[in-house]
Structures are given as structure tokens and as C-alpha cells.
Symmetry: C2
Subunit: 257 residues, 2 copies
């Protein structure tokens, strides 16, 4: 059975998240059901299963999610992407690319780097065009101070202070390879890069940096929050709508057939 690697964009607003859940529509379910309609003759005990690089929460968007699935049908990548896009309509999901990969490729377990973007809109007026796409903070933040404080968080650390209670990772120790802060017009963009992240880690990091941007916290406060290894010691969880799964990276040797 050929294995397909998909590159996916979605608007997270109408979904309970990436992962299938009983309480509402998920990106995974929409794509799996579309794929099943493409393969009506597969054995009933072999539902199509989609595995993603990141299981985003409700409201979180993706510009470049990577996922894979095995399909009992050989289709050129372009045709598969077109068919999935047609069958998932009107859900705001777009398969940007589909291609056959070696069956050793696993979107989640082969992934060696994940990148996220977080958008904060820092202006007095409510968002109109960016509603549900940014964290609206109705005052200016000091992006330079945030950028400086972010350096304290980069590196190999116990990130317990930035980990959701529901996190299922074996260990809170992760290596955060980059945490950059940039001003873009009336927005502040935070980008984070690591091999893997804890549940809510990016949103908790951003919630903490926002305290710095507001002038309430210093670099040292951020350092102390990290050292405390206690969720209660760090800032709040930034809202889901500002978060975007940007990209997943894989070793070259596992991406080609």
C-alpha cells in the first residue's frame, strides 16, 4: 500500500483540533473521511488513519502541517491533493502537496524539527480582518524586551513551568532551538523551533513573554519561572487563535521513496 505524505493548511477556528474527538469536527476526521471516499473498496477493518507531525488544539491553525497515510490505491500526488480538497469542502482545509514516500516515513516519529508562529495584535482597536487569527492585546508591548527575555528560554531545559497539566510527554525536558520575536506592523510575531514541544508549550511561552512586553516581568522573572519547574510560576496560556503550525522537517533519507 503506498504511503502518502501530505502538506496541509487549515483554519483551526471551526475544529475541535487536529485529532478526532467525539465532541465535534476535527481536521483528522475530515481528511480521513475524504480519503475513505476515495478508496471505497478497502477492507472494512482497515480504516484510513492519518498521522500528523503536530496534534494542534482547538482553534490553532496550520500553514504547513505534515501528515501521512497509507492508501490502498495508487494516485499521482497532484490528483490526490485535488480530490482531498474537493471532498473536504467546505471545511477550511487545503492539501497543498501530496506525494508518495517510503513506508519508513512517519509524520510524527520521523520528524526532527517543528516550527510554530504566534501572532499578537498590539493595538487599541479590536481586530476586524484578523479576528480569530491573533491574540489581541489592546496596548503596545515592548517587542525588544520580549526578544531579549526569550533568550533565557532557548536551550536544553526542564520546561515543566510551560507544560499543560494534560501533557502526555514522557519528560518535561526539551531543547528549544529558537524563540524569536519580531515586530511586523501592528503585530508581534513569535516563532519557536524545536525537535518537539510539550502540550501548550508555545502558548505558555508566549503568555509569559507578553508579561515582559507589558513591563510587568523582567528577564530574571522569566529565568525564575523556568527554574521553578512549576506551571503556576509562569505566565498565562496565550489564546489558541494566535498559534500557527508552520513547518515540520525530516531527515532527507526518509522523505523519498
Amino acid at each position: 500500500m503506498p504511503r502518502y505524505r501530505l502538506l496541509i493548511e487549515y483554519d483551526g477556528a471551526p475544529f475541535v483540533g487536529w485529532q478526532r474527538q467525539v465532541n465535534g469536527p476535527s481536521v483528522q476526521q475530515a481528511l480521513e473521511e475524504a480519503a475513505e471516499r476515495l478508496t471505497p473498496n478497502r477492507p472494512a477493518d482497515q480504516p484510513v488513519r492519518l498521522h500528523a507531525a503536530g496534534r494542534t488544539d482547538a482553534g490553532v491553525h496550520a500553514l504547513g502541517m505534515v501528515a501521512h497515510m497509507d492508501l490502498p490505491r495508487v494516485l499521482p500526488g497532484g490528483k490526490l491533493a485535488d480530490a482531498l480538497n474537493a471532498l473536504t469542502r467546505p471545511a477550511p482545509i487545503a492539501v497543498l502537496e501530496a506525494r508518495v514516500v517510503a513506508d519508513t516515513f512517519h509524520a510524527r516519529f520521523s520528524c526532527i524539527e517543528r516550527r510554530y508562529l504566534y501572532r499578537l495584535l498590539t493595538r487599541r482597536a479590536t481586530p476586524a480582518l484578523a479576528r480569530g487569527r491573533v491574540w489581541w492585546i489592546p496596548r503596545d508591548l515592548d517587542a525588544e524586551a520580549m526578544r531579549h527575555a526569550a533568550r533565557r528560554l532557548v536551550g536544553h531545559h526542564d520546561f515543566s513551568s510551560f507544560r499543560a497539566a494534560a501533557c502526555q510527554a514522557d519528560s518535561p525536558v526539551k531543547t528549544l532551538d529558537a524563540l524569536d520575536v519580531a515586530r511586523v506592523g501592528d503585530e508581534i510575531h513569535v516563532t519557536a523551533r524545536a525537535r518537539s514541544f510539550l502540550h501548550h508549550q508555545v502558548r505558555n511561552l508566549v503568555g509569559t513573554l507578553a508579561l515582559v512586553g507589558e513591563g510587568k516581568w523582567s528577564d530574571d522573572d522569566v529565568g525564575r519561572a523556568l527554574a521553578a519547574r512549576d506551571r503556576a510560576a509562569a505566565g498565562p496560556t496565550a489564546p489558541a487563535g494566535g498559534l500557527y503550525f508552520l513547518a515540520a522537517r525530516y531527515p532527507d533519507d526518509c522523505t523519498e521513496v
Copy 2:
């Protein structure tokens, strides 16, 4: 009565357009009704009237619409913007700025330059995050050819070929000061600048440039379409959702009190 100048952002999707109409919600109506709630004691024969630099069509967005209104109440600009934003919720309208101006200022008649942005998404996959915000063309366009052809349209011309039948302008002769084409990732952005535009002019210009981008039309075809002074000679009207009113410019002396 103080005159207020407003700078407004809106998502055009849920509106019948800027202008009040009996068949649905308009940006003008939402803001006028909000302003009227702020001034309950004004004479009944003096409804609040909002005048805009551009009367955008249904589905057209604005990043920087300028409008003015007279209010029988003195309010600091920031407070007025906050109140209008609170009272128009949940409509996707944001008043970015409000300030008192001289009563010689007229958002429509004093305006000396208008700028529009048009976004085309040129990729095979449907838009997910940019749905309703771009014209989706499922193949690549030659942006360089479009940029080159756009030069034929800049200048002082009879734009009858790019004018909607419903256009109420006295004359089809306008000066198009700039028509720029730029590739931005998987989008092509067309920006247009003129003192004023005919009805549908930007969308008709973009529809024509898209024919060039597809390789169907040459620069000379564009020149002939312009010279024909006949709407049937030019390209189709690009969809409303890709168009954004960007900015309006005024002489310095009419913007301050």
C-alpha cells in the same frame, strides 16, 4: 457640532458593501447606528450620516477606509473609537483612529488619492486561511508579464473598457497614477493608486491583467482593450473578496482643526 475623521478596517464578507442598502447589513449602517446610540439626545431629524472616501462593494475589505461624521457631542478620539468598536461588535469592523477635524474636511470630496490592494492566490490548492480574502486561481501566473502590461494602463485615459455599467461617474476619463504587480509567496499583489476610480475599475483592471498572467493576452491586447473604450473589450471583473481599500490621502491643510 464637531466633525470626526475615522480610520476604519473591516472584513467585507458579511456586508452588502459600505453603503446602506435595504437588502442587508452595511458597514455604513453598523457605524451610523453605533454613533446614534452614543448621541441619544440629538434632534430626531438629524440622523448621524457617515461619508466615506470609497463606497466599497459587497465582499470588498478595507484596511484603511477613511470616513467622517458630525456628532452633537464632544468626545476624545480614543474614547469615540473604543465606543464605536464596542457598539458595532460582533460585526467585523474596527475603528483604528478617530479625531476631530475642521468642518471643511470631507472624506469623499477632499480626498486627493485612493489606494487599493488586490490579492490573487495562484496555487493549485484551494485557500483555507485566506478564503474570501483572495481571488483563487489554481495555476501559476506570470507576474512579470502582468507587471509589464500594467504599464500600458497607467496614465490619463478614457477607462470606459474598465467601467461597470452601473458607474455613476460623470466622466470615464481618469488618471491612474500607479498599477504595480508584485509576487508575494504564492500570491500576486496588485496595488492601484489614483485620485479616484470608476466603479469596478480595479477589479476590471485585475481581471484583464490575469489574462496576461495566464499567457492569453499580450501587452498589445491590453492596449487595444483600453483603446476600445468598450467594457466588452476588456477582461472579466475579478471577484470582490480579493480587493482591499488600503488608504486615502488628503491635503495637509484640511485634516487638522
